[in-house]
Symmetry: C2
Subunit: 351 residues, 2 copies
Amino acid sequence: MRTALIPLALLAAAPLAAEDKPAAAPTPVEIVAAAPKADWAPITASDLMVMDLAADAKGRPRRVVIQLLPPPFSQGWVGNIRKLVAARFWDGTSINRVQDNYVVQWGDAEAEDAKKAKKLPDGLAAVPESEYAAPFAPPMFKFRYTAWGKRDALVARGLVVVPIEVEPESRSYADAYSVNVGFASGFPVGMSYSQRQGYVDPLSDKGFNQPDAVWPVHCYGMVGVGRDMPPNTGSGAELYTVIGHAPRQLDRNIALVGRVIEGIEHMSSLPRGHGPLGFYDLAQGDERVPILSVRMGSEVTDLPTYEYLDTEKPSFARYADARASRRDPFYIRPAGGADICNIPVPVRQVK
Amino acid sequence: MRTALIPLALLAAAPLAAEDKPAAAPTPVEIVAAAPKADWAPITASDLMVMDLAADAKGRPRRVVIQLLPPPFSQGWVGNIRKLVAARFWDGTSINRVQDNYVVQWGDAEAEDAKKAKKLPDGLAAVPESEYAAPFAPPMFKFRYTAWGKRDALVARGLVVVPIEVEPESRSYADAYSVNVGFASGFPVGMSYSQRQGYVDPLSDKGFNQPDAVWPVHCYGMVGVGRDMPPNTGSGAELYTVIGHAPRQLDRNIALVGRVIEGIEHMSSLPRGHGPLGFYDLAQGDERVPILSVRMGSEVTDLPTYEYLDTEKPSFARYADARASRRDPFYIRPAGGADICNIPVPVRQVK
């Protein structure tokens, strides 16, 4: 048999259950495949940014599709990005930096040189640092996990010791970067609670207070805004995407504006730059990757329609739970918890 | 000014402090650069595996250097790997799979076909699943972080609410996959505590019991053993390395045997495969990447000497603390905690 690593189980259909054998637990992929249409939410074409890179060495087109963050996140920068697209600012610019296990960054390679730099469109907002997080917006957010610290608290009280047998009450979504994590409108977010609001025992699901600040977090494929030293927050003209382990230390230190929903492999597989920080160094034989055009999805006639698995719906909850506790046949020991960035929100083209 | 993202601050020397201004906090890179020689530990050449891939399209050599795990981790598989190298098993095999944000996998592409498969050397061990974790080995392990659940516990008791002002006692190394995390002999590990040993309040540093099991975890660049369905654990003939967000759900479900310490960009930047699970599909124009040879470091005459920042030494503690709470000028809000996989152990060539 071919040694296959866990993912064969990901794609394979669940084996038919013999009568004397319980059906195998579904994989996360199987749960997503079985999700009813009602559990998917459409992505509006006008919230998509479509970046066409020059064709690769074999002549294959390279298209990257980015979904911009919805309100109330990062609105100042997202507004700037819409203006930059309208001005065709990125047409003819390039990918200038590829740093392994970190980011791919693109924009005007001559931005530093006042004589050669492309002119920015008028009317870009200077967005304050306070917009790195948003006030809590009840209509758009529901907890998927009230489990912050739950296992930890249980362990501390001696109620759970070794979570090998994973029961729902001992699942962990502990996070090193924020008190709680969850999903808002299909995006991974961190959140905080103010002293004024107090704090309710995490062992009780009820009475768990609402957070007073919510912010998107730096998972794989998230897109953010390059900036200079603070209090500069960047205009949005220089963007990056995460191509490695989530650099969560950047959360609330730099603006996020969206995520790549298709074509990230055209960026993550680019040659790494030989200059400092992975910037392409032409003197060392690096070649920048030309950006042919960037358009809003509503301007692109051949763009498919996309939808994401609604993070408020039951299928998503089942999917996230399966990501946290793999019980399909490949696994021998479910983890009993998951990193927020290991629960990527499924996105698909509408057939 | 060039919009630069955080990393400019990483490489730049700390600005000279004016007399009326405190010196800027050092970056993690600056802390590593300043570490005394005594804080570095050598890596024995006989613990290195050197994989030479075919040159890239520009004729540049591609060498990948892997450090094998020390005892007591994964010894059965590491022993097999030494036998496979001695038998030159991988010479002439290839990289067969590149799945975005997951793994690169290599070995005999014909392993599934009994007629074409390369013969495995005699004497490979069938390693039991119990070896996915090791009993606690006091001489080789020290806690760097006793902080498991510390912030969480403080929050639960109402002692800390919003960790904006990060004090040592509110730092978080909370982990979604294991009760505690740390470093053993330079490798990131998870650990568990048995009921028999009981549990001591995490608010107290003293009396924190020793774990009864320790295991390496799936961070970026870690190398593991492809396997079939359990109870198969793999021989070691098919290996993979992590090239995306740490797939920690694999911890204790699959064997880890080491990590890439140099040249991972030669694997992470490869074209993604178009077949299922990222396997290269020749019919779709994919090309496998030839492996010219795999040797132990002790057999390679032109190999530099490597050393890692000793995880038992003060410089590592300072480095890890700076990774968790960035106070250098680029940052406006230190996180107050870090994911174990966001504290990569520094490795360098000895000059």
